[in-house]
């Protein structure tokens, strides 16, 4: 399998997907914590006209140019969302919806407009819609790696300030930190993380790459730093696995495959992770309920014994069922544990150990 990675294209795409996964995973951790998950969705959709305008203005399709255009548009989108929320009674979710759909629609207008032009080299721009990982070139990879690296570097540099921003911005202000500026910085880092991934998974699906790795990581740890690290790993894992799968399988587009990989990681995490995992929760619940049932039957037997000290025939399951409901399976379990003894077909009594337990 390892010689898969000798394939130049596959290597490039896998590395690109990994870079995307790492950056969006790490920065997505902050976004999700600050309830800005869907802001990521809005930013990615808003980036589309930026790509088109960058091309229209410069005539170039160099990744840096297009990414810069995407970033500016995405950032403008965020400003508009905040502006709408601050100056009108329109709420955050509606502002996101407006910016998301209007910018995107405008982007489509520009794309189709470019398409009709005589130099019709719009092909290459619409890969930003759904992503076209297979089309990643070395220069794309370099751009992604450098920008992603810078974004991660800045994040690490002001880590404690970002933690403060996410947890208690008021307190941060009292300490003298410029929280507003930090907010802008963090949002900008998120924008960068998003735009470098657009070529790979596309505008529509990029939101998932910001949200899912972080949501999955949160299930495994209660520490912010570890969470960001895990999210980065999950993102990279989904990126690489998704890329390999889609290369090996026919007609499996890369973007959606990566998203399904990361979704699978989320599902596994939700079910199985640590103490919060749903599976463990269910098992714990069942164990607790069973314990309660056994204890109930045991105490009922004890009570019956006290009330009818002369009955040496034991008590029937039916009577016990009346007292605490469905006693048969519990009685069998108690028998297995040596707490009760079966005297006849349907007669049960406590053993010495059982009596001791019931007394406590």
């Amino acid at each position: 399998m390892l010689d898969l990675f000798d394939d130049y294209t596959l290597r490039t795409v896998a590395l690109g997907s990994a870079a995307l996964g790492i950056t969006s995973g790490a920065l997505g951790t902050f976004a999700v914590l600050r309830r800005q998950s869907l802001l990521g969705d809005a930013i990615s959709h808003a980036a589309l006209p930026g790509v088109a305008i960058a091309f229209l203005l410069t005539g170039s399709k160099a990744p840096l140019v297009l990414v810069a255009g995407a970033a500016l548009a995405g950032f403008l989108g965020t400003l508009l969302v905040m502006g709408i929320v601050r100056t009108t009674r329109v709420k955050y979710d509606s502002a996101l919806g407006i910016v998301l759909s209007v910018f995107f629609g405008f982007g489509l207008v520009l794309l189709t407009f470019i398409q009709r032009r005589p130099d019709a080299s719009q092909a290459g721009l619409d890969r930003f819609l759904f992503g076209q990982a297979a089309g990643l070139l070395r220069r794309d990879l370099v751009t992604m790696a450098i920008l992603g690296g810078i974004a991660l570097g800045v994040m690490l540099l002001v880590w404690k300030e970002l933690k403060l921003l996410a947890f208690d911005p008021d307190y941060g202000t009292s300490l003298g930190y410029p929280m507003r500026a930090l907010d802008v910085l963090l949002t900008s880092l998120l924008v960068v993380a998003i735009v470098i991934g657009l070529q790979t998974v596309g505008v529509v699906l990029m939101a998932a790459m910001v949200i899912a790795p972080a949501a999955a990581a949160r299930q495994w740890t209660d520490r912010l730093g570890l969470g960001a690290l895990l999210a980065a790993c999950f993102g990279a894992l989904a990126g690489i696995v998704g890329t390999v799968l889609s290369t090996e399988t026919e007609r499996l587009p890369t973007g959606p495959t990566i998203v399904l990989c990361v979704t699978a990681i989320v599902l596994v995490s939700l079910l199985a992770a640590g103490r919060r995992g749903l599976i463990w929760r269910e098992l714990r619940g069942r164990r607790d309920r069973r314990r309660l049932r056994l204890a109930a039957v045991l105490t009922d037997l004890y009570e019956l014994e006290r009330q009818h000290p002369e009955a040496h025939r034991g008590h029937s399951a039916a009577v016990l069922s009346v007292m605490s409901g469905g006693a048969q399976p519990s009685l069998e379990e108690l028998e297995r544990r040596g707490d009760v003894r079966r005297l006849g077909d349907d007669a049960w009594e406590l053993t010495e150990t059982g009596r001791e337990k019931a007394e406590t």
């Binding site: 919806g97 489509l108 759904f130 587009p253």
Partner: protein, 369 residues
């Protein structure tokens, strides 16, 4: 205008109005992004429906896809209820996954069938007049028009019938529960409408426009009125106008019709944002300018009243100290003093200000509020 063009515009208007109605309630209930989620995941519904039914043109397809839309909402709520994922993150986890499944299914199994990814996002309104419904030997018109008109009728009907419940559960869910209405039921009914509308509009205009039409016109209308019936009407009107304007823009630029319509809803919102009487940015700026002067005079009166009769009154009532105590630049201080004097609120005497009775009353009123 050709009849084809007329039909396209008719479809556009019907779609816009059909979207604006449930969209208004989405905006009011802070569920706008559910429209984004549903409009993406119904792709999966359409694909699955296609596998089951075998053709793209069946009404069963509509219903099936709408059910997937509802399922999206159910999944999101399930996720939220685990308590392990925040509300907004839940939405962003469900719809990309469903959408991805849909895209993959199309790529692998639906090749060669008229299910084009681009059409998913954009719809292809330009081709709508060519796909017609012929029934009982009669041309009923473009499929899209017929379907959307039926959906519009359903939307209007549902809103009319459940008016009380919708209104109450939107503005006071606690009271709705207390009165015995089931807000959850209303919620699901609303989601069903949204789903149905999104699926119906899908073919013609694609998913992005559905979001734009469901959110932007109602949001714009929200800045223009306080009454729910008028809100619905305005939303519908703004939506229709945006749709028409968008069509002509696309015609002029030879560009995507759906994209142009979405852009025009944005323009409509922008106009409302700037120019809404009372709530728009322009109105607010004008109001602030006016209030600043009035407010400053009231502040002056209160400042003087607070220190009246106290030992520091001498100090505090000096005109040239106003800039220190009230942090006013000298020219501004002079202006306010002049205005206050003209209104009969203060008397100036040897560089010191005294409150008149009117000024004292103004101060008392302001503080009593």
């Amino acid at each position: 205008m050709t009849s084809g063009q007329i039909e396209i515009q008719l479809i556009a208007v019907v779609v816009a109005v059909a979207c604006a109605l449930p969209g208004t309630f989405l905006v009011l209930r802070r569920l706008s992004l559910v429209s984004d989620a549903i409009s993406h995941s119904i792709l999966l519904g359409i694909v699955l429906g296609f596998f089951v039914v075998g053709s793209v043109n069946s009404p069963l397809l509509l219903v099936g896809a709408a059910l997937v839309g509802l399922a999206t909402v159910v999944f999101v709520q399930l996720l939220q209820r685990t308590g392990l994922v925040k509300e907004d993150a839940a939405i962003g986890l469900v719809f990309p996954a469903l959408f991805s499944i849909g895209v993959i299914l199309i790529s692998r199994y639906a090749d060669g069938v008229h299910l084009d990814i681009d059409a998913v996002l954009l719809g292809e309104l330009a081709f709508a007049p060519f796909d017609r419904i012929e029934f009982w030997g009669w041309d009923w018109g473009p499929t899209a028009l017929v379907v959307m008109s039926v959906i519009l009728a359903i939307n209007i009907g549902a809103i009319a019938i459940f008016w009380k419940e919708l209104k109450l559960s939107t503005f006071d869910p606690a009271l709705a529960v207390a009165l015995g209405f089931t807000p959850a039921l209303v919620q699901y009914a609303l989601m069903g409408l949204v789903s149905l509308t999104a699926v119906g509009a899908f073919d013609a205009v694609g998913s992005i426009l559905v979001v734009a039409l469901m959110i932007a016109p109602p949001a714009a209308a929200y800045l223009l009125t306080d009454s729910l019936p008028r809100l619905l009407l305005l939303a519908a009107a703004i939506g229709a106008a945006s749709a028409l304007a968008g069509y002509w823009l696309a015609y002029a630029l030879d560009a995507s019709i759906a994209g142009a319509m979405a852009s025009m809803t944005g323009v409509a919102f922008l106009l409302a944002w700037l120019f809404a009487p009372g709530r728009g940015l322009l109105a607010a700026a004008r109001r602030r300018a006016r209030q600043k002067l009035e407010f400053a005079q009231t502040m002056l009166a209160i400042h003087l009243a607070n220190h009246e009769g106290l030992p520091e009154a001498e100090e505090e009532s000096r005109i040239d100290h106003l800039d220190r105590h009230l942090r006013w630049p000298p020219e501004f201080a002079q202006r306010i003093v002049r205005l206050a004097h003209r209104r009969g609120l203060v008397e100036a005497d040897a560089g010191r200000l005294t409150l008149t009775q009117a000024g004292r009353e103004l101060a008392a009123d302001a503080l009593a509020r």
